[in-house]
């Protein structure tokens, strides 16, 4: 699930690791700790769902930016569909339970 969240955060444009880690970390629950984002990003990259490029930054050394690939967009689109179905199913079951 965290992988798909990273893909979704990248739909608004490329980001560097620190930015992603802070965004996910601040929302809580999605990743165990900021550091666990990096193995996850490495996996997404190996699977061709994101790609990286080095950019100069205004402060400090160059940064590695992550951006969605075509495959990444496809993977995210299919997850969105599955997620809706899954969420609706769970919602339905939970609401049935609460009515009794």
């Amino acid at each position: 699930m965290a992988e798909q969240c990273v893909l979704a955060l990248l739909t608004t444009g490329e980001k560097y690791g620190f930015e992603l880690a802070r965004e996910l970390g601040e929302r809580g629950q999605i990743i165990a700790s900021e550091g666990t984002l990096y193995p996850l990003l490495a996996r997404l990259r190996r699977n061709g769902l994101v790609e990286t490029s080095w950019r100069e930054s205004t402060s400090g050394p160059p940064r590695r930016y992550y951006r969605l690939t075509g495959d990444g967009e496809l993977a995210l689109a299919s997850f969105r569909k599955q997620w809706r179905v899954f969420r609706d199913a769970v919602d339905e079951i939970l609401s049935e339970g609460s009515q009794e």
Binding site: G17, A32, G35, Y38, A42, R64
Partner: protein
């Protein structure tokens, strides 16, 4: 405490943290391990750039957010510590196993290949080069002995050297090279292992290391 001292303490914390992460990531292949280490390091440095005061307390909080090295390693698919408990035996079995009994050597090789501690290249080298070195050592010794006995060249009766007719110098060289080839590949993994042990023990003084540990300093208000 001056700010310079404080920064140095913060640097040490970061260095220790990265050493722990490196140790936890053993068993993940080298290129991925380096990538993760580099990125986490970069993350920490960027976090420190954003701190108002770059002192040890703030860096500790930052490292807490980065999280437990074991959790990062687990996310990276690193094998657990259990798969390494026989590591210490492997080099000794590979060195002395072939001489004592073939079974010892086989056990050593099995441990070597089952453990995530060593790279594929180290495993291959220890498996192939080490026995080849032993064979070279054996032939080198035999040739050296027969050369010393004056056998090569015009061999008198009783000198059945069966083709092992090398000049003494070459024979000795072969034996020495063989000995080195036999010993060095298993010893190299042993050193790798020791370095890892070192980074494991090189842990920061956290209260979690045990109640018996007393820590002087600003946080030393232990009841």
């Amino acid at each position: 405490m001056t700010s310079r001292q404080s920064t140095r303490e913060a640097d040490n914390l970061v260095r220790r943290y990265l050493a722990q992460l490196n140790a936890a990531l053993q068993g993940v292949d080298a290129s991925r391990r380096e990538e993760i280490l580099a990125e986490v390091h970069e993350h920490i440095e960027q976090g420190r750039d954003g701190l108002d005061t770059d002192d040890a307390a703030d860096v500790r909080t930052l490292l807490d957010r980065v999280g437990d090295p074991a959790a990062i390693a687990a996310e990276a698919g690193a094998p657990s510590q259990d798969s390494r408990r026989w590591d210490a035996w492997a080099p000794w079995l590979i060195i002395f196993g072939p001489v004592a009994s073939g079974l010892g050597w086989i056990a050593g090789i099995l441990i070597l290949w089952a453990s995530p501690t060593w790279s594929r290249r180290d495993k291959l080298t220890a498996t192939i080069v080490s026995p080849a070195g032993l064979v070279a050592l054996f032939f080198g010794l035999v040739a050296a002995l027969s050369a010393a006995a004056g056998c090569p060249g015009h061999a008198p009766a009783g000198c059945t050297t069966r083709g092992v007719t090398l000049p003494l110098g070459v024979a000795i060289l072969l034996a020495v090279a063989g000995l080195a080839a036999h010993l060095l590949p298993p010893i190299h993994p042993m050193r790798t292992r020791r370095q890892q042990r070192f980074t494991f023990t090189d842990q920061p003084d956290e209260p979690s290391t045990g109640p018996a540990r007393r820590k002087p300093g600003p946080l030393g208000a232990n009841a």
